[in-house]
């Protein structure tokens, strides 16, 4: 399968160690991260982590499933989207959490 650039996002509790758990999954798959960003969302205590890397779709799928297993992760997706903001990827979850 072709290697191409993917962006993985994860909606997480803003807790110590979550980013390490996610990056450990990349390390295990021997995938180099080209960019990592953590930003707040509109819900206090909830962050979105964005990681860009090269890889195959099969591996991205596996990485995302393993990220979802992390206790502090609400959800994780890898589909590339035009504009990466917490609202347009996780809008539904965030509006539920805001209640």
């Amino acid at each position: 399968m072709d290697n191409r650039e993917y962006t993985v996002t994860a909606l997480t509790e803003n807790k110590i160690g979550v980013l390490n758990r996610i990056t450990a999954i990349y390390l295990r798959h021997k995938i180099n991260m080209e960019g990592v960003r953590v930003i707040d969302t509109q819900v206090p205590g909830v962050s979105m982590i964005t990681i860009s890397s090269y890889g195959t779709e099969e591996v991205m799928e596996r990485i995302v499933r393993q990220i979802r297993r992390i206790v502090e992760v609400f959800d994780s997706r890898y589909k590339a989207v035009e504009s990466i903001t917490p609202e347009n990827i996780y809008g539904e979850i965030l509006s539920g959490l805001g209640d």
């Binding site: 997480t12 160690g17 390490n20 450990a24 596996r62 393993q66 206790v71 502090e72 959490l97």
Partner: protein, 573 residues
Amino acid sequence: MTEKRNITGAEALLLSLLEEGVTDLFGYPGGAIIPLYDKLYDYTDRLNHILTRHEQGAVHAAQGYARATGRVGVCMATSGPGATNLITGIADAMVDSTPLVCITAQVAASLLGTDAFQEADIISMTIPVTKWNHQVTSAAELPETIAKAFYIARTGRPGPVVIDITKNAQTEILDSFVYTPCTGLRSYLPEPEVRDEAVARAVELIDASRRPLMITGQGVMLSGGEAEAARLAERCAIPVATTLMGLSAVPTSHPLFVGRVGMHGNVAANEMTQQADLLIAVGMRFSDRVTGDVSHYAPNARIIHIDIDAAEHGKIVKPDVSICGDARKALSALADKAAPRAERREWMETAREAYERERRYVIDGCISPAEGDITMGEAVDKVASVCGGEAIIVTDVGQHQMFASRYSRLNRPRSFITSGGLGTMGFGLPAAIGAKVGCPDREVVLFVGDGGLQMTVQELGTVMQSGIAVKIAVLDNGYLGMVRQWQQLFFESRYSFTSLADPDFTILASAYGIASRRVSARDSLEEAVREMLAHDGPYLLDIAVEREGNVFPMVPAGKSISNLIFSELNDGQ
């Protein structure tokens, strides 16, 4: 909810364990954990602490305890080397889905990151091998953290949790102790709902299938779904195979049981996988030891995969129907809805024919040889016939493990305790100790090789001090037998560093006050096994077995499971 005032963090931790129903724990003291052990001294009437001889022994014992009882296993160790010594067992528990709470001590919070004496960053080190871990730096965090730890360890796909507690958190005074069990976390959905639509599609496949095969993994037992698995199998006349970890989910004497799948599994289970038009894979993860070359795995079969862990669905094989959820509930729904079927005579005839072939080419020569030294299979079969399927069988890793898995008789669930995914030599003796502590009224028989025994042999001291009546059957061939087998078959018999000069294990057992005997003659074997099992207390039976015996059948690594080898010379044709 219990309230108590002005107690130390150490006492709050012990009270939290009691709130979680903990009665037994395994551990080893050291500098940073002294405050906790000091308080434990006041709680020995309520908490049975087993002192092991090494922290690895403590974690494997907690694993054996958890696997035998279904409860969360608890172990504790000091900071630094105490904590790092747990890691092998934690990794083993992670891959074999064993619920553990591992408590490690840590240097005082003020010293974190300074390379203080016995400081090790156990949180970073255990990230890849824990379901969750957390460092506690103040007493106030302890009750809530322990509640979360137990909740996470036992729910969903179970797994190990590490709680690292700094020394100051153990000694600080907590104004008021209130314990509230954890019932949920907003980011964590441990048990996805079994979807009706997926069940309906699975029922269609089951109803249409002519040659279905159910493969039960450990998830059947983790969910308490043994009876539902049998109900579905019996209702629809579906033969049942198990994985190594799934052994004892269905009694080995069940008329629909066709054996174990995988590298050293049974001919029927493997061949029927290849011939089946439908696999119902329950609580198993299609390990490479199960599938062999995955591109040639189950070529004729639709696949229904039932697993609580969403990450397992599609990881190795693409299922036709994924049922993500609790195995017991999924099996129950299928057993309610699938159309009843009378027997499948022709399909079960395949199983009988395959068993007959396996018996002729492998089993007879293995368990009832006419001459030569005692074989491992013979020793396992002898124990099985004397125990009558009622014992908990614990194994270490290697050839003896495969023989134990092939020839043990298992009537009750949670009766086969082994290191499956990680393949940890040294697991056996401490895991047997844990199983016996958890199930004192059941016979616990350990099969262990002479190599694996020596990896954690110091736990004979634990057996002695705590009077744990485990029966230790050493299948002693003076080799690291499984590696030697591979060297013989695939590396031109170049036995590079696999031969062991062993001590006299009976003298070693005697040094620990453990009754023992060595047996090497076939006509004394049964009597020796009976003596071991009749003995009131721990016993070590050193069984001198054939030095260069091999485990067959075998699927060579990376080959299709259609390529079963029956002997050193023959390729199964």
